[in-house]
Symmetry: C2
Subunit: 327 residues, 2 copies
């Protein structure tokens, strides 16, 4: 950074004032064609780039958006991350990556977000605590929960239409002739889990069916464990709906390892449509999120000067059922 080319040096080479150099790199500022040309040439020659620190400092606006993720968890997220960085890049923002270890944002992470006074933060796969929400609100940092809803947090949420999707899955399974059902869930408290459970069991009840509910934590291992128990306890049902594809794989493998055949003996449905669901050992029927639209809406909420700081809007976007070989 010691050897950084400054606007001043560009100005000297171009024979204009430093202000003019700045104007060339500030969109919306008026510069004559000739000045622009001279500046651009000098800048190119010297390899000039406006210093973003100075820029953010003086404009009091950050070009950084915080992306909070839980690192290695569901392969569903990398897709969304990619989409976010691409869309934000188009709008001139860069991404500050926060990789939390735990379910909650760490103090150190919050500090980073605040020190850079990020333009906004996207929280993925983390059950943001009220404390985090309060912190963000106190510092007036717009935030949106992606694929999560935390009622009462006042944060914006953009999710898939979980409840309705789960109802659709229930109807699908009933239509396939299933009469007994199991729901294998995710981490308690996670809205995706709660909403899918609600939609699934309610729709089943509407048709006169009950539902066995098994606890989980969104991992393959928990899926496997549940699948194994289902068999070994003799409580296997006609159909199993797993809160995520990842858990569905575990369940499927536990079934396969025990000689239970899908879909002949049991129908299986997941949620997310991550890449592996189309691989031949699984070929899983599942429900796909409208990720592109979810990302676009998240960014819209985050960057809107008015809505971004208003009370949390909760959006549920419809996805689509993907029928494959497990139903």
């Amino acid at each position: 950074m010691e050897n950084q080319v400054t606007a001043h040096e560009v100005a000297k080479l171009a024979g204009v004032s430093q202000s003019s150099v700045s104007r060339v790199f500030t969109k919306g500022a008026s510069v004559s064609k000739e000045t622009r040309k001279k500046v651009l040439e000098a800048a190119d020659q010297l390899g000039y780039r406006p210093n973003e620190y100075a820029r953010s400092l003086i404009t009091r606006r950050s070009s950084l958006v915080g992306l909070v993720m839980k690192g290695v968890s569901n392969p569903y997220y990398p897709h969304a991350v990619k989409k976010f960085t691409a869309e934000l890049k188009k709008k001139g923002y860069s991404v500050l990556l926060i990789d939390t270890d735990d379910v909650e944002l760490q103090m150190q992470d919050i500090d980073a977000l605040l020190s850079y006074h990020v333009a906004g933060v996207v929280i993925m796969d983390a059950t943001a605590s009220f404390q985090t929400a309060e912190m963000l609100k106190r510092f007036r940092i717009p935030a949106v929960l992606f694929n999560r809803v935390v009622p009462g947090s006042g944060l914006h949420s953009v999710s898939c239409e979980n409840e309705e999707a789960a109802r659709e899955i229930a109807r699908l399974l009933i239509g396939r002739g299933c009469e007994s059902f199991t729901y294998v869930g995710g981490r308690e408290g996670a809205s995706t889990h709660i909403e899918r459970l609600k939609g699934f069991t309610e729709e089943l009840k509407k048709h006169g069916f009950g539902c066995q509910v098994l606890p989980g934590d969104f991992t393959y291992a928990a899926g496997y464990r549940n699948g194994a128990e289902l068999i070994e306890s003799g409580r296997l049902t006609d159909a199993v709906f797993a809160v995520t594809d990842l858990m569905a794989y575990g369940i499927y493998d536990a079934f396969r390892d025990r000689g239970i055949r899908v879909p002949e003996q049991v129908k299986l449905v997941g949620f997310d449509d991550i890449e592996m669901s189309s691989w031949s050992p699984y070929n899983l029927s599942t429900y796909v999120h409208p990720v592109d639209r979810m990302v676009a809406l998240s960014i819209e909420l985050l960057l809107d000067p008015v809505r971004s700081l208003e009370d949390g809007e909760v959006h549920y976007l419809p996805g689509e059922m993907i029928l494959r070989g497990t139903t």
Copy 2:
């Protein structure tokens, strides 16, 4: 950012100078116990955080490290990303995430890296071009290629000991009695592919064996295609070594779908030991990278004031063979 609390306000509340406030938040600066206490209390009350833009501007040092990744590709990378963010956080750095669409860094990405004059950049899963390398060198931005080597680029590289690992895999397969071999590769030009191919074929040759080499691109789909062709063309060998686990899964599934049994009819080995390799449909024998040590060394190289800007060091770290059910 309009409503940001400044050191000046903290100073006023604490009844000290703004300099003293700054010193409290600058490690290594000397402040009396009493002053520190007053400042900390005032800062806490106001929710003060040093503005990182002002700090970076005046110190001419960035607390940002660029992490370049190719988004949704091999699940091997999210692990490394998590490790990087965690280790960098410990050292006081935050991560600027660059998600490239292509194999090469885009101009816009480079610009972001330069505008923030990042302290360093880690390039993962991207075959950095010479142009990129030149750019980084011109601006004196330390860079390390993670899991890749680009000879002649002058960039630091930290990789797994690919060649020796591939030799070990060859010996393992020979030891299992295999007499004919196939190598399914990755994207042409990728050092991981080149090195693993070299080690594997050379070691086989040393023992008097040849090797059929199939082209790939690191994807599951290419693995599947190759696996299918192997069977359909009647050129199946006793053993198959895939450049990555991801490709090995595709190969395995193509075999499975065609009734070929692993490891009875063909032995299969992958590379990376990503999560799915321990799942029961695969239970894949593979080779695991020493990710923790690779990350630690990368950061060491990046942040060392001397080595960071010297000519590229190329490091190969030994990993470990993981024997599972496919061999």
